[in-house]
Structure formats: C-alpha cells, structure tokens
Symmetry: D2
Subunit: 294 residues, 4 copies
C-alpha cells in the first residue's frame, strides 16, 4: 500500500519504520532532516514536502505535537486538504483537543475526504515494538479501512465513536491514569511512613480492591519492580510533561463540557508543580517524589 | 477447635457461621440478642457474656465497629486480657486505628498473650461466601497459627507485617480504592459529557492504562455492568459511610505520620460531602452521583 | 463626548445609563430590541447596527459575554476595526481570555487603532450605582484617556499593565475570591458542626488572620449578615455560573502558562459540581450549601 | 495578683514577661532551666516544680506544645487538679484538640475548679509586644475574670463560647488562613506567569474582592512588602510545621464532626508536602515556593 507519513518524532519515527517493515511503500516527511534520513535508511522514500508525501497516497498518516500543528498541516490554502485525493484515507495519530479533531474532520468531510482520529497509547516502547493501542474516532467504515494499517503498528485497535471520540477516550483514560498513579504513590508512601515494606504493601493492594495498572505493571516506588522507570531513577517511559499536556487537554474538555473533575484537576496541578520543580523529563511515575524522600 | 466469637453484625454473623460449617465448636456473644439467636440456630453455642465466650477458647475472634469497642473489650479490669488463657490465640478482625491495634497488642504481649490484627475486605457477600480477604498484622508464627481458621472464612490471607500492619495495609488499600472509584467516576462522566457511550469508554479504559478494580468488577456508572450496585440504584455493597470511616482512619494515619495525601484527602472530603447530602447508606460507587445527573 | 455602546445586558445596560446621566451623547446597540428600547427611554440614541453605533464615536465601549463575541464584533471583514475612526478609543469591558484580549488589541494596533481591555468587578449593583471597579490593560496613555469615562461608571480604576493585563488581573482576583469564599464557607461550617455560633465565629475570624472580603462584606452563612444574598436564599448577586465561567478562564490561563493552581482548580470543580446540581443561578456564596445542610 | 505560669517557650516566655512588667507576682516553671533563668532575670520567681508554681496562685496559666502535655500536667494522681486551690482560675493558652480542652475542663469542673481555654494568635512578635489575640472558651463569668490578665498579654480578647470553643475558633481561623495564604500565593503566581507585576496585582486584589489578611499584612511574594518574612527569605514568623500542626487539629475536628473540608484538606496536604521537602522551619507564607521558582 502507498502510505504518506508526516511527523517522524519519538513516536512517529518508529511507527513509520514498522510500516516499512510490514512491506508498505512509505513516503515520509518531517521538518527535521535527520529524522527523515533515519527513515530513508530504513527503507522509506524521501519527500521534500508534506504535499509530496501526501500526493497519491492510499493512506496518509500524521503524528504531530499539538492541535495547532494539525490545523496548520491540513487547513487553509496551503493545507493538505487541497492536495490529497478523495480516495486517500487520512489518519491523524496526534493527541489533540477533541474539538479540533472534530472540526478538522468536519472540514475534511465537507471536501469529500475521509479522516479519522487515532491517538495512541503505549509510549515509545510500544511504538518501537509495534504494540501500541489505537483509540479511534470515525465512522465504522473508515475505522475498518484503517484497521489493517494500524495493526502493522499496534496490538489493540478500539473504536470509541465518531470523529473526535478517539481523542475524548484517550484523554479520559490518561486523566484516570494520572489519578491512579498519584493515588498509588500516596498510598504506598502512607504505608511506608507507617512501617510497611513497599513490596509487601504493593502486593497486597494489587491482589485487593486497590488493584490498578500502576500496581500491576508500573509501580512508582523504587525497587518494587524491576525494569520499570521507578527502578531506573525514573528515566525513560512517559514523561511528566507529556502527562501534563494530556491533563491539560482533559481540563479543556472539562471546561467546555462544564464537567466537575476534582481528582483530575488536582492531578493536573500536582503534575504541573512537579514539572515546575525540574521533573518535566522524568517518567510520570516520578510523582512518587512529591510524596516520598527519594 | 474451640472458638470464641464476639461481635455478630453484618460481617461477624456470617463469618461465625462459616466457622460452624467448617466443624468448629463456636461460642458466640453479641449485645444484640437476635444476632446471637441466629447463630445458635446455625449450630453455635450461646454465651451469656464476652468472658463466657472467651474462656477456654483455642482461638478468640472479635469483629467490632471501632477502636473504642476493641479497647473496651480487651483492656481494663473487666477486659478479656484478664480472662483468656495464655494458650488462646486472639484475632481481632475489626477495622481500627493502627495505633490502637499496636497498643492493644502490646498490652496483650505484656501479659503473655498472643494477638494479631486481621481486618477484612470483601464486604458482606465475601463474609457470607467465605471469600473474604484478610490483611494480617502479627508475628509470622502467630499468623501461621491463625491461617487455617481464617481460611474457613476467607480466600486470601496476607501478612502485612507486625502488629498493626494489617490495619495500615487495609487503610492504604481502601484509601487507594476511594481514589480509584472517584477518578473512574469522573473519567466516565467526562467521556459521557463529551458524547461517549459509558460502556464503550469503560471497555477501552479497562483494556488500557486506566485499568483498575472499579472498571474490572464494580463499574460506578449505571447500566455498564449487571449485578453491581450501580445497576441497582446503588443498593447493597460497601456503604458510603463505611468508606468515609476508613478514609477517616487513613487521614488519622496521615496526620500522625505527617504524610501528604492530597488525593486521599480530597476523596475523604468528597465522600463526607456525599454522605452529608443523604447518601450515607448507598454503595460507595454512588460517588458517581456527585459528577453525573443520575 | 460621543460614545458608542454595544452590549446592553445586565451589566452593560446600567453602565450605559450612567454614561447618559453623566451628560454624554450615547449611541447604543444590542441584538435584543427591548434592551435597546430601555436605554433609548433613558436618553440614549438608537443605533440600527454595531457599525452605526461605532461610526464617529470618541469612545467605543463593548460589553459582551465571551471571547468569541468580541472577536466576531471587531475582527474580520465585517468587523468594527474596518469601521471605526483612528481617533476613536476602544474600550472592551467584557471578561474574556487574556490571550484573546491581547490578540484583538494587537490587530487593532496594526490598523492604527487604540484599544484597551477593562473588565469590571462589582456586579449588577455596582453597575447600577456607578461603583464598579475597572481593571484595565493598555498603554498608560490610553488608560489615562479612558479614565474620565470609566469614572462615570465606576469608583476604582486600576491599570494592571499592557494589553490583556486587565483580563489577567481580573481572572487572578476572581480565582482568589472563589478560593476565599469556599474556604470561608468550610471554616464556618466546621465551627458550626463543632458547636459554634456562626455569627460569633465569623466575627472572631474577621478580626483575626482569617480576615477576608467574604467575611467582611459577603458572609456566605445565612443570617450572619443582613442584605447579602446568603440571607435572602442566595438570590441576586454574582451567579454560580458566572463564577464558574471566570474560573474556567483562570484554568485556561493556568494551562497555557503551565501554572500549578491546586486551590483554584479545586474551587472550579466545586463550583462546576454545585452548578450541575441546579445551583447555577444562585449567588456564588451558595457554595456554603455544598458543606452545610441549608 | 499572684500568677503561676507553666511553659516558657517561644510564646510562653515573652507572655510571662509581660505579666511581670504589668506588676504581677509571677511564679514560673519550665523543664528547660535556661527558659526559667531568663524569666527570673526579668523579675519572676523561680518554681522548682509545676506544683510549686501552681500552689496559692490567683491565676494559673499554661502554655504547652500539644494535647498530651496538657493532659499530663493537669490529670492523673500527680496532676495539678489535685494541687490547685478552688479559688484559682486556670487558663490554658496551649493550642490543642477541642475535644481534649473540653474533657480536661470537664474534669476540672468535677473537682470544683474553673478552667478556660485561651489559645492565641499573633506569633512570637505578638507575644513579645503584648499584642496577641486570645480566642477563649469558657463561661462568661470565667472569661470576664480572665480578661484583665489576658489584656496584659494581648490586645484582643474574644469569647467564642463554652469550654473548647476557643480551640474550635482558633482551628477554624487557622484553617481559613492556610487556605487564603495558599490561594493568594497561587493567584499571584498565575499573574506573574502571565506577565503581571506582583506588586501591581497584589495592590489591585487587595482593593478588590480578593482582599484578605495575607494581601493586607503578609504578602507571600518576595519584594512586595517590606518587613514580612517573604522579603527576608521566609525567616521568622509562623512556621510551616506549626501551621501543619494546626491544620492537623482542624482535620481531626473535621473527621470527628464528619465535616467536608476540601480546601482545608488540600491546604494540609500542601503544607505537609512543603514541610517534607525541608521547609518546616520557614515561615508559612513560603508556601509560595511550591508554586513559584524562588
């Protein structure tokens, strides 16, 4: 299949590589030359512009940092919506505001184009290993068309609803993740401060009603689990600043829908505080450091 | 085995019954006559006082509402510590302040007695079905002695550490549970307010990094799961006031250990607010009602 | 002076009246005919369009609900920036996002126009009595020009800084106000729940380090002060939904500047929760009802 | 008047000195010899024991760190309640749990003694200058008797209600103070992060509805006010750990009365976090450092 891929950062780069490996013909573009070069070495075709990558593609994929980049890529006179063929399926994998995802997809539809939002979770390791989760918003038909391609990059493909729903579901999930990570860190510290062994306590809670993803796979307390960021000085993984960005998107959705999210809002403030103290690049499980002397 | 059992409420009653079923000779006492009668009909032996139940027992079990009841039962001139034989193993299953559990066990040790704290989780259903989880604090030897008896009432027996550690671990777990439940309720409502189906969103988060016990077994949003309190007008289950009590114990432990628990403290205030609006007897998953129009 | 006034709602209407009273020649416009009629009866001149009100004005004032209304009024081909004379001083009194205020003022400057942001506090009573506080952003020169006109509508004129600074300062003030009001309500309720008379406690705190605007002028507990909303079933005053809107603007500013505002974020969630339970039209001091049985 | 004074720490020392200055005959006791010596040099009489200080006093004053010290001083066989004359007025100025204050006063009443609780605010400066505020719980008659003596040490004497009410009112006030200090710090930082001058913003809020004690007398942002701790590296003043202690007392009262105090609980967690990062001895306005790079 002919695939155009725009945005070759920490996530987009390995995702595009997996498409090459799967045998697709992938034309790539990024503003950073070295990112393009790495992909070309892996077998992708160099594009000299976003337009060049998009023209003639069966599937066009974008993986960009934020809402304004997506708007800038697709909308306006220079936007790709004036370039791509009506037969091209557009998949935006960026994590952006649901409102933007909906409005961009709506402009696409107005021009006879098909676009879906497909934000991912699973981090850079998931991108490299092809084990990402895609949370997708768009028509059933469009999501079905996208699925074989997404499966070359990920393991789980969930359709959350129509356009924008992928973004909403991802935002809700990540807000919940921040809450349970903070809550887990607090609970472990409360136990440690009262004389418990963090390993024993984590094990008990994991087998009881406190069970959650953090206890299961990503314990925030150093030394409880091997091979997680907390046992490696909180290096690697999913950064504090990225979590803060997703919590910001969650708060914007809460503001627009007038939703009350006290736990999520508190988590956002804790992550913003943690970042402002210099922890922005650490893994997000380092929120433990707010509560413990580590 | 000769077992004395004191405190036959919603939890203690079915727990004692399971001991009778397991073939033990169980002497029971409660201040409420009807509770005693029900047990006697099930095959237990009537005691006319706590002392009567305690004398000659191989194992003495208590299941009482709060710290002061435990102190009052065991300490002082009339207390059971002046009654029970040094060979009796004392198991307090009440959920009380760790500090109290430690000090009472310490008095016991001073008199040559062996006492462990073994608070439970699993609710009235777990008590009835013999599937409770016991989180135990005491010496390894004492916990090993207790295990066969506890296994007649529960499925999982965890030793958290020395005296009081059972209480600490239970408190940490339940604080985390309250945070997870509130966070899950908020996340689902944020999705619903942005057009998502609560079933679809719950399913996606359960398979992603938002995964937790509430999504898995106890979804707080009505209609997502059958046979949970949220689909039955939040009747049954683990009451808001009981969760508020456990959160109070968590806060006391946090105060004494000078721990910072922002998420847990917020959960406590939300549960106290929810209770003050008349929801004290509803299941604790009804915290969803603070965020949703239900 | 010839003044154009656009937006004659609960705030704008009485503000425009005070300009008429002060002897100015005021041309008014609103999409709601009855609002215009009331002003014409008070001595203002009818305009048939926003353009009509703006042409030839020495000062043009707008008082609109939200950012998008301000953008829509001034920007674009039909926008007033293409209509007003370069000698006209433009004063936007709407409470909107600082970012919008800055970008709109920047467009104005690009066209050689002078525009300041001058959001108000003091509520409908302040608007009627001409005792509003204006918190102004713009050059010193522009603010000096505006001051005599603003003094016809208000008592205090503060310059917070350059364009957008008026919005920032108002947002910060109102976020703090929400925190003070919630904190005061909690503190009074804690005292009442522990047997204190809310009047005695309020008096003590007002004379101690808990002193704040709410205790001084706007006690949230019914019966402590006469002539405040809390003693009148929380009718009148500054509505819960308006406070929620301002807290939303504060949260947006916090997100954009990556600021940690845990107290403000919690206040926002409490106000959103309070509104979702049907209290949106009550005075914002009714947050007391979240904590007390009233 | 013959006054016994027990507890000569940072607060008690200067308070006792002011009684000496006022012409009273003051017998003093403290476990720390140097504290006693300083008072004796100032004109007080040495007591070799608490009993010695108490015997024959018209008024007996205690100023101790926490509930357990007060219980230990007055209760039990060695307690002063078995020593003091029935004509002695007992004034406990310690800040302790209201419950303890009530129960100790009740024991006193049972022995025919009169005791009031009179916690103070105003810090070490207020103690030295005789400008403390006393918040008093006890019968009107007892408070009237105490007033002339208290006026030798303070400026404002408030009767909050019967026994324990002084403690409740002080706790409520200090919880509110922590909330408004945190909220003020957040609001200033939000303004600074959006380009405002902290002096200008503080001035505007102080003249608007954000007005509160912190903005008025104790601005937490360095450089806004002279002669406050924030402009002196947060040295001196009222320490973070003391505020954390008072917030702990507030939380205990909230737990016992099942009150919902989300803002107060959040403030407690922020102060506990701040203390755990090494700020325990700084002035409590240093909470600004959690939000700002200072």
């Amino acid at each position: 299949m002919d695939i155009g891929f725009i945005g070759l950062g920490h996530m987009g780069g390995p995702m595009a590589k997996n498409l090459v490996k799967a045998g697709h013909s992938v034309k790539v573009f990024d503003l950073v030359d070295s990112a393009v070069t790495a992909l070309v070495e892996a077998g992708a075709t160099l594009s000299t512009s976003a337009q060049d990558a998009a023209i003639g593609a069966d599937v066009l994929i974008s993986m960009l940092p934020a809402s304004q980049h997506v708007e800038s890529l697709y909308l306006g006179e220079q936007g790709l919506f004036n370039t791509v063929d009506s037969s091209t399926l557009i998949i935006d994998c960026s994590t952006i505001a649901p409102e933007t995802a909906r409005s961009v997809a709506s402009v696409a539809a107005g021009k006879g184009l098909t676009m879906i939002d497909a934000p991912v979770s699973g981090g850079t390791a998931g991108a490299a290993n092809g084990t990402l989760t895609f949370i997708v918003g768009g028509s059933e038909e469009a999501v079905n068309r996208a699925t074989p391609v997404l499966e070359n990059m990920g393991k789980n493909i969930f359709r959350a609803g129509d356009s924008g729903a992928g973004q909403v579901a991802k935002i809700c999930n990540n807000m919940l993740l921040a809450v349970l990570m903070s809550g887990t860190a607090e609970a472990i510290q409360l136990g440690v401060a009262n004389g418990l062994d963090p390993r024993v306590l984590s094990d008990i809670m994991q087998k009881s009603s406190g069970r959650n993803w953090a206890l299961e796979l990503y314990n925030p307390y150093p030394g409880v689990m091997e091979s997680v960021p907390s046992s490696n000085d909180y290096q690697g993984g999913f950064g504090v600043d990225l979590m803060a960005k997703d919590l910001g998107l969650a708060m914007e959705s809460a503001l627009q829908s007038r939703s009350s999210t006290p736990m999520g809002a508190l988590a956002r403030s804790l992550y913003a505080m943690h970042s402002s103290k210099g922890a922005g690049k650490l893994d997000f499980s380092s929120i433990q450091k707010l509560f413990s002397e580590l």
